[in-house]
């Protein structure tokens, strides 16, 4: 199964299970979790189901296209099920069947792997899902986001698309997987990985990054100080600071001590934005409904 069929099948599967099929966030982020469709939607009582692909940029993981297993930008397929349904594990296993993986002839395991994002003030409990020893999905029950205890709880499924494609195709290099229509991944992405590595490790202007980080941090604050707070613009500005931080980090420009301080600065705005979102949704009367009231 090529990469695009994998994406189409998963999207189709999750659409059939009540998910809104969203599009990737049009900003640089390190993970699908940072998309407001996850980071904000998991807050508050409104039920929601969403799935989308998110290109995830991690400049420090880039390897000039030389390491066959590592990328500076990879694709995640992110699913949020809120509240987490009782049979969420069963649903997940059926989604693997949509990829042609028959659980009856494989060894599928859920091994503890908890997740934490200091920049988002978020953490969750869960597993990495192993298929015949290969990690294919991160499975998390969100417990907190933006420093806020969550109820209802969302289940987050994050499929590592390139890895799954590699594993299913038994390819020895990411660049050999087939994207679609017989076109290999490498022909589409290799040059981009090389250039992005050179940029991230050697060329990026640290002073400029630092300056822009300050600017976008201030901009996020301005959005939050606005009356009423501008939630999405504040989140977007905060995500920009997060990415700028990642670039500086990849450049080796962040010391251990400074790191803690910078992360705390990003987190501060993320937490404020989360609180503002909760208030905003309350004031709107929870347009998507209230899962906690429906049971009563």
């Amino acid at each position: 199964m090529d990469l695009q069929t994998l994406i189409l099948n998963l999207q189709h599967f999750w659409a059939e299970h009540g998910c809104v099929i969203q599009q990737p966030l049009d900003l640089e982020v390190g993970a699908g979790t940072m998309h407001p469709e996850t980071f904000l939607r998991v807050l508050g009582p409104e039920p929601y189901r969403v799935a989308y692909v998110q290109p995830s940029r991690r400049p420090a993981d880039a390897r000039y296209g030389e390491n066959p297993f590592r990328l500076g930008r990879h694709l995640q397929l992110q699913v949020i099920l809120k509240p987490s349904p009782d049979d969420v594990q069963g649903l997940f296993l059926r989604s693997l069947e949509a990829l042609g993986i028959d659980p009856a002839v494989h060894d599928i395991r859920f091994e503890e792997d908890n997740w934490e994002s200091p920049t988002l003030g978020a953490w969750g409990v869960g597993w990495q899902v192993l298929l015949d020893g290969m990690e294919v999905t991160q499975f998390t029950y969100f417990q907190q986001a933006g420093g806020i205890e969550l109820a209802p709880i969302s289940a987050e499924l994050t499929y590592g698309l390139e890895r799954i494609a590699m594993f299913l195709g038994r390819k020895d290099s990411i660049y050999d997987i087939e994207w679609g229509g017989g076109v290999p991944y490498g022909k589409i992405r290799l040059m981009d990985e090389r250039e992005s590595s050179t940029y991230g490790f050697e060329v990026a202007d640290v002073e400029m990054l630092r300056r822009h980080m300050e600017d976008w941090e201030a901009e996020a604050r301005r959005c939050l100080d606005h009356d009423p707070p501008l939630v999405i613009p504040a989140v977007e500005a905060t995500l920009k600071t997060s990415h700028l931080f990642n670039l500086m980090d990849a450049r080796g420009a962040v010391s251990v001590t400074e790191r803690v301080g910078l992360i705390a600065r990003v987190r501060k705005n993320a937490i404020r934005a989360a609180k503002a979102y909760v208030t905003q949704r309350e004031e709107l009367g929870h347009p998507l409904g209230n899962a906690l009231e429906e049971v009563d």
């Binding site: 494989h106 020893g133 290969m134 109820a151 038994r170």
Partner: protein
């Protein structure tokens, strides 16, 4: 008598939480059942990754009835003149839960009183369990807990099913919103459907038929046997990894195993890299040949009986191939640069905000190691040591150690060896993190020992200097373990090194880096090390705690000397002579507490016992010097022991605190001299008379 069965089904419980989950469930049920008055009931707790199971054997169906005799108000106020019961009688009857005409009377020496016999009917076991189980499960605590769904419940993982059977009957109860019943499920792959458990005794058998082994001990047995079989088929044996097998026992419902192949070219990587890659990324066991070399085969534990299409093996082989290829990529990348070249990056690797980079730390450790080498008269070049202090830390920057932090030291050793470094250097890189606390061997070479010692002393002194001092269970920098390693290296290197001096030198080396008075830091570090030294004597050397205290009170800087002295005292500490001396020495210490330095004047002795003690003390002092010089502490304590009877006679016959000031002072002077000599070996007053068991 009936059996009770509890099965709580959940999503996958983390392996490391299960042993404690079993303990908590067992303790809670045992306590509740004992409190309900049932004695000698056997409770068994089992689990898989997906269920917690308790079985209780021979539980009576109900508690025995209990009769209680209650005494009420005096009869004279219980009935009025007409013989009708008063409010007092009615009140008592109500309290006892019987009618007034059932009241009895009881004569005592204070008069006649109302009495009642109350029969408390025993409660049904089902009722007791219906309350106990939800309370016990609800009070279980885990290192990391979670909510799910609407968030009402809080447990280690979401709960999906509850079976509670007393004999053949369901015990009504609810745990986390799940009603008890008799329905459960088989193995997710082999028998995924629901089924009903007929009665409490049937679960293990019914589940075994459906691919689930609920007893962890049985899963362990199956794993061990199957692993040995698969290894033998390949003409190999399993590279032992008890902790990993124990983890697998908790990770599955059925412990399946398969053998897969590794491309032999990966075995050219250092064996630690291969083992770590397999263990930490894939939790796989590796096979080894008779000679201990790695074989190109691994064992993967799978949660199923079989691999019907061979896909599970293929998949695992592919992943392991990918992991090893990744490791080899790192290895080759790392080797493209020399360690000397890599080491320049240490300046950018921060150790601590105040204490600076790893490079700065290596500068200090190298200087300290060179100073200690000179003090010890070791034939090591100071510049080479300073350089080595950097090189042994350099692997922290390499891809492999960034990926596998547990390979620090190991990789440095390999990289230095492969680029032709001297054995003294590459083994030092490999060994200088050893031992971990008291566990493991000390480094083989003097360079490894010195750098391991200097690095840790600098860590301890530095972090103490900035106030990062371990408290209670809080020791984020692992300073206790570091100090233990310091003690072990110092004690077992055969060096005549004074650890107190060495620690002082480490503190001095931080001058200009940390604020605050160096003497204060030195004192804190010294006390901290003393605590570890005592523990070393007790836990590693095997000396009793009181003997350790006794010898340490006489000085402890030179640990090999201390150790010899401690062992010598420990060997004789329970002898009659030593016990007697211990008591006598307490008196000596009390009497001489206020005394200054005075000279003994034999002319002032009045009694033979004084003269006898004086002579014996002189002989002792004379021989003591020789024994201590030659470190013959057995002999030294034997000489000391000879004073026991003399000292006893002295205390029986001589009144030290006599009226004549001159005579008294002379007697105190004699004891003071004795005290001083004794204290070069040990403070015997710290010996516990009962033998000092700890």
């Amino acid at each position: 008598m009936t059996a009770f069965l509890l099965e709580l089904r959940t999503e996958e419980i983390p392996a490391n939480a299960l042993p404690d989950a079993r303990r908590q469930l067992g303790e809670g049920l045992r306590k509740g059942i004992a409190e309900a008055g049932f004695d000698g009931i056997e409770i068994r707790i089992m689990s898989t990754s997906l269920r917690l199971v308790a079985t209780v054997e021979n539980l009576p169906e109900r508690q025995a009835d209990r009769t209680e005799r209650m005494t009420g108000p005096p009869t004279r106020i219980a009935y009025d003149d007409d013989g009708k019961p008063t409010k007092a009688a009615e009140g008592f009857a109500k309290k006892a839960g019987i009618s007034v005409d059932q009241l009895e009377t009881e004569s005592t020496d204070k008069g006649e009183y109302l009495a009642a016999t109350v029969v408390h009917e025993g409660r049904a076991s089902a009722e007791i369990l219906g309350e106990l189980v939800p309370a016990v499960v609800g009070s279980m605590r885990f290192p990391k807990m979670m909510r799910w769904g609407l968030g009402e419940f809080f447990f280690v993982r979401p709960v999906h099913g509850l079976v509670a059977l007393l004999g053949g009957d369901v015990v009504p109860m609810e745990v986390f919103g799940t009603e008890a019943g008799r329905t459960t499920v088989g193995h997710r792959v082999h028998a995924p459907g629901d089924f009903e458990v007929p009665s409490a005794d049937d679960l293990a058998w019914e589940l075994a038929n459906r691919g689930v082994l609920i007893d962890p001990d049985e899963r362990r047995r199956v794993l061990d046997e199957r692993a040995a079989e698969l290894a033998a088929e390949a003409g190999c044996r399993v590279h032992p990894d008890d902790a990993l097998v124990a983890e697998h026992v908790e990770l599955v419902e059925y412990p399946g195993l398969l053998r897969g192949a590794i491309d032999p070219e990966y075995l050219e990587l250092p064996s630690e890299v291969v083992i770590t890659t397999l263990r930490y990324h894939q939790k796989c066991l590796i096979l080894e040949n008779e000679d201990g070399s790695l074989a190109p085969q691994f064992l993967a534990v799978i949660d199923r009986r079989d691999d019907p299409e061979g896909l599970v093996r293929q998949g695992n082989e592919w992943v392991i191939g990918a992991r090893l290829a990744d490791a080899r990529f790192f290895f080759e990348e790392d080797r493209k640069r020399s360690m000397e070249d890599w080491s320049e990056g240490l300046e950018r690797l921060e150790f601590h905000r105040v204490l600076g980079s790893i490079a700065a730390k290596a500068d200090r450790a190298g200087a300290l190691a060179a100073a200690l080498a000179e003090r010890l008269g070791l034939d090591l070049d100071a510049d080479a040591l300073r350089r080595a202090a950097h090189l042994v830390k350099t692997d922290l920057l390499t891809n492999m150690v960034v990926e596998f932090p547990e390979l620090q030291g190991v990789m440095g050793g390999h990289y230095l060896r492969l680029e032709g470094a001297a054995e003294e250097l590459w083994t030092a890189a490999r060994d200088h993190y050893r031992p971990t606390g008291f566990d493991g061997e000390i480094p083989a070479s003097d360079t490894g020992r010195l750098l391991g010692l200097a690095d840790r002393l600098d860590t301890i002194a530095g972090l103490f200097g900035v106030g990062e001092i371990p408290k209670g269970s809080g020791d984020p920098f692992g300073l206790r373990r570091a100090a233990q390693a310091v003690v072990k290296i110092t004690a077992e290197s055969g060096w005549a090194l004074d650890l107190v001096d060495a620690a002082g030198a480490a503190v001095d080396g931080l001058a200009g880096v940390i604020d605050g008075p160096a003497t204060e830091t030195s004192a804190k570090v010294r006390d901290f090390l003393a605590g570890r030294v005592r523990r070393y004597l007790r836990d590693v050397v095997g000396v009793s705690g009181d003997a350790a205290d006794a010898v340490m009170a006489a000085g402890w800087g030179d640990l090999s000397e201390l150790r010899a002295r401690a062992e010598a005292l420990d060997a004789v500490r329970t002898s009659d002579r030593m016990r007697a001396l211990g008591l006598a020495f307490k008196r000596v210490k009390n009497i001489t507490e206020q005394a200054g330095e005075t000279v003994v004047d034999p002319e002032l002795f009045e009694q033979d016992e004084e003269r006898e003690l004086h002579a014996a003390a002189d002989v002792f002092a004379d021989r003591l010097a020789g024994c201590v010089g030659a470190r013959r502490f057995d002999d030294a304590f034997a000489e000391m022991g000879k004073l026991a009877e003399v000292l006893d006679r002295f205390f029986v016959e001589v009144l030290v605190m006599c009226d004549d000031e001159k005579i008294r002072d002379n007697r105190v002077a004699l004891l003071t001299k004795l005290r001083r000599d004794f204290l070069t070996l040990a403070d015997l007053s710290r010996l516990q008379v009962d033998g000092g068991k700890e």
